[in-house]
């Protein structure tokens, strides 16, 4: 065990010292912070300025204020104008976004945003209805009371669908981050294997360390770096969401989704790292690496694309199947779980199968590595790598 931790520590020290790693971490953190703050920057914090003109301005103001009081993060600043001309000037000078003239006309510079349009429309209807009912002889107080309607409660059978968009955004963020991290860290594993094989330093290493210890130490060390990167991303993302006040908008179970994503990262990493390491041990030069790695990279890319599709149609039959089948499950299941509620047994089954696949590939990959890593020179053929131990 001591040898493994020594090897792992070396990987962490040397790799975390490189500029690429440090800048990468900072850039990712900034990117995630911006992404997390985005909903707030774009959708949240609705501030509107409305100008009112005409006899019904008082009641319109009351109706608008009532809506602002009900809505989250909704403020409506109201300015009263003496006549239409003054209101138009104010709109033209950007003093107000829109002006409502005589509860009949909406004056604006460009197209009114959908949200504001809906707010104005509701206020207009309320005031107009009230007016009509009152003129029909009804008691204005009773009319006012009748206008007080409780909003409907939303009940989604398949998870909480109220924030489908946010869930999709979270799901896609997970796919992108998982893919980027997996391909980056696994490529590091592969490059490290070739570095040691190509420079023959592996000959010295293997006189004091066993091949599986070397491979395990390397994989664990770089895995720890990947995991710490993922945790930085998760913490920065959630913290940014907290700071910008986007947290109330996060769907229920987001923390759970983040936690299982970490588990999926570890499973996926074990699988792909072993695969990348075994393949890398077949060649002696970095130039030959991308060529031999192509099939493994393609598999990872395929998982990535399927994960993207899954974010769009989390309940499709393909998504459903691939969220169980390894190694696709490592990227499809966390995505699916981010969008819809996945039964516990399905998650357990998918994780169990992925764990089995990872163990199998660790075993096979370890054997290939052991056999090929000392065979410098020409590329080792698959048949030789799989053949009986010498």
């Amino acid at each position: 065990m001591n040898a493994i931790s020594l090897v792992a520590r070396r990987e962490i020290t040397v790799r975390s010292r490189t500029k690429g790693y440090r800048y990468g971490l900072v850039v990712t953190a900034i990117l995630v912070a911006v992404l997390a703050a985005l909903p707030k920057l774009l959708g949240g914090g609705s501030d509107y300025t409305v100008g009112l003109v005409g006899p019904q301005a008082d009641r319109l103001q009351a109706a608008l204020s009532a809506q602002a009081a009900h809505g989250d993060d909704l403020t409506i600043k109201i300015t009263r104008f003496a006549d239409e001309a003054a209101a138009r000037r104010a709109v033209a000078n950007d003093d107000v976004e829109v002006a409502v003239v005589d509860n009949a006309t909406v004056v604006s510079k460009t197209v009114v945003s959908q949200t504001l349009s809906a707010i104005l429309d509701t206020a207009h209807r309320m005031v107009a209805t009230e007016e009509n009912l009152t003129s029909a002889g009804l008691d204005p107080a009773k009319v006012g009371a009748a206008q007080q309607v409780r909003p409907m409660t939303e009940l989604t059978l398949n998870g909480s669908g109220e924030d489908a968009t946010i869930r999709r955004v979270i799901a896609m963020t997970i796919v992108v981050i998982l893919f980027m991290l997996l391909i980056q860290i696994c490529t590091w594993v592969a490059m490290g294997v070739v570095e040691e094989k190509g420079s023959r330093i592996v000959e010295i290493l293997l006189t004091s360390v066993r091949p599986w210890q070397l491979l395990a130490g390397k994989t664990i060390g770089l895995g720890v770096l990947g995991l710490s990167q993922l945790i930085v991303i998760a913490v920065v993302g959630l913290a940014a969401a907290q700071l910008t006040g986007a947290v109330p908008q996060l769907p229920d179970g987001t923390y759970g989704v983040v936690a299982t994503t970490i588990v999926w990262f570890l499973l996926g990493y074990a699988f792909y790292a072993a695969m990348f390491a075994a393949i890398a041990s077949l060649v002696s030069r970095q130039e030959d690496l991308s060529g031999v790695l192509t099939p493994a990279t393609m598999l990872l890319m395929a998982s990535y694309l399927v994960g993207f599709v899954a974010a769009q149609s989390p309940d499709g039959p393909l998504t459903h199947a691939l969220s169980i089948i390894p190694p696709f499950s490592a990227m499809v299941m966390p995505v699916r779980a981010a969008v819809v509620a996945v039964p516990l047994w399905e998650t357990a089954l998918a994780m169990g199968l992925m764990l089995l696949a990872a163990v199998a590939i660790l075993f096979v990959g370890g054997r290939i590595y052991q056999r090929a890593v000392l065979r410098t020179g020409a590329r080792v053929r698959w048949r030789e790598a799989f053949g009986s131990a010498s």
Partner: protein
């Protein structure tokens, strides 16, 4: 004591080793010489366990060498390997830790070695930034750091300048004085002759000569006569019994055995069929300035046995 016993190795149809045996005692410096492709590197890699043999055995202190035994060996492979992006000090320490030292011991040992090898001011530099000679010193430090009982060095002197050669030779001499067994391969036969207590010559996967340099010399000496005669008639040497290996009629500058005045000078290296007959002939031909068995150098012995 390292005992290599009857190693066999084939690569496909090609026989690389055909029963190689050699012995290196504690405190002994063993020079392993042979032409390119003779089997030196293959033998050393099998000793270090990075290559499996097809037959034969490697024993250390009488017991077959396994993984734990080999952790007490130090190794410098033919093609140098270091982590280019690691600093000198931390790299040497790392190999000390892998060799089983705890952190303070590895640090002490690394400091001492780095100082001994003249790398103190490069301690914090990345290996990639060092000259080849300095990289070689780091490579040696990596092989020595865990205070191994046996050192296996494949061409440790190749590519070094004379000062670096002396530094490396000095370090190796210290180790053998401390009881470490050292085996190294080299094509620099003068160096092997100067440094080694024992020499083994390998050809086409077989050991064709072995022993101390003195033993080899004794076996190969009394084969060549060096005869210097002045004032002889031209052509006298053709009557000498045996095979003339070399002839020279120009006296070396300042040679005390040189000619008196403008007399003719003849130096002959002879593989005699009858040494007494040769002496008589030389004495009759002119004035014998030198007549004696020539001490062969290791290079000459090597050419003799490998030819």
């Amino acid at each position: 004591m390292l005992e290599v016993d009857g190693l066999k190795k084939r690569y496909g149809d090609k026989v690389a080793l055909d029963g190689v045996s050699l012995t290196v005692r504690p405190g002994e410096m063993y020079g392993f010489v042979g032409a390119n492709g003779a089997g030196k590197t293959t033998t050393m890699r099998i000793v270090m366990g990075v290559l499996a043999s097809d037959g034969g055995e490697v024993r250390w202190k009488g017991a077959p060498a396994g993984f734990e035994t080999r952790r007490r060996f130090g190794y410098m492979p033919e093609e140098r390997g270091l982590y280019a992006k690691m600093r000198v000090g931390e790299q040497v320490e790392y190999f000390g830790r892998l060799g089983g030292m705890d952190a303070p011991a590895a640090r002490r040992s690394a400091d001492a070695l780095i100082e001994r090898l003249g790398l103190t001011d490069r301690r914090g530099d990345e290996v990639a930034g060092l000259s080849l000679g300095n990289q070689q010193r780091v490579q040696l430090a990596v092989a020595l750091i865990h205070e191994p009982e046996l050192l296996v060095l494949d061409e440790p002197f190749s590519g070094l300048d004379p000062i670096a050669v002396d530094a490396l030779a000095g370090v190796l001499a210290e180790r053998t004085a401390a009881g470490v067994a050292v085996v190294f391969s080299s094509h620099q036969l003068d160096l092997v002759e100067r440094l080694c207590d024992a020499v083994g010559i390998i050809k086409d996967g077989r050991m064709i000569a072995g022993g101390t340099v003195a033993e080899l010399r004794a076996r190969e000496s009394r084969k060549r006569l060096r005869i210097v005669v002045t004032g002889a008639e031209p052509g006298w040497a053709d009557r000498l019994p045996g095979e003339i290996v070399a002839k020279n009629d120009r006296p070396p500058q300042g040679d005390p055995a040189g000619p008196d005045g403008d007399q003719r000078y003849d130096e002959v290296i002879l593989r005699p069929s009858d040494d007494q007959e040769a002496l008589l002939l030389a004495a009759r031909a002119g004035r014998v300035q030198h007549f004696g068995w020539q001490e062969p150098s290791l290079a000459e012995i090597f050419r003799e046995v490998v030819a």
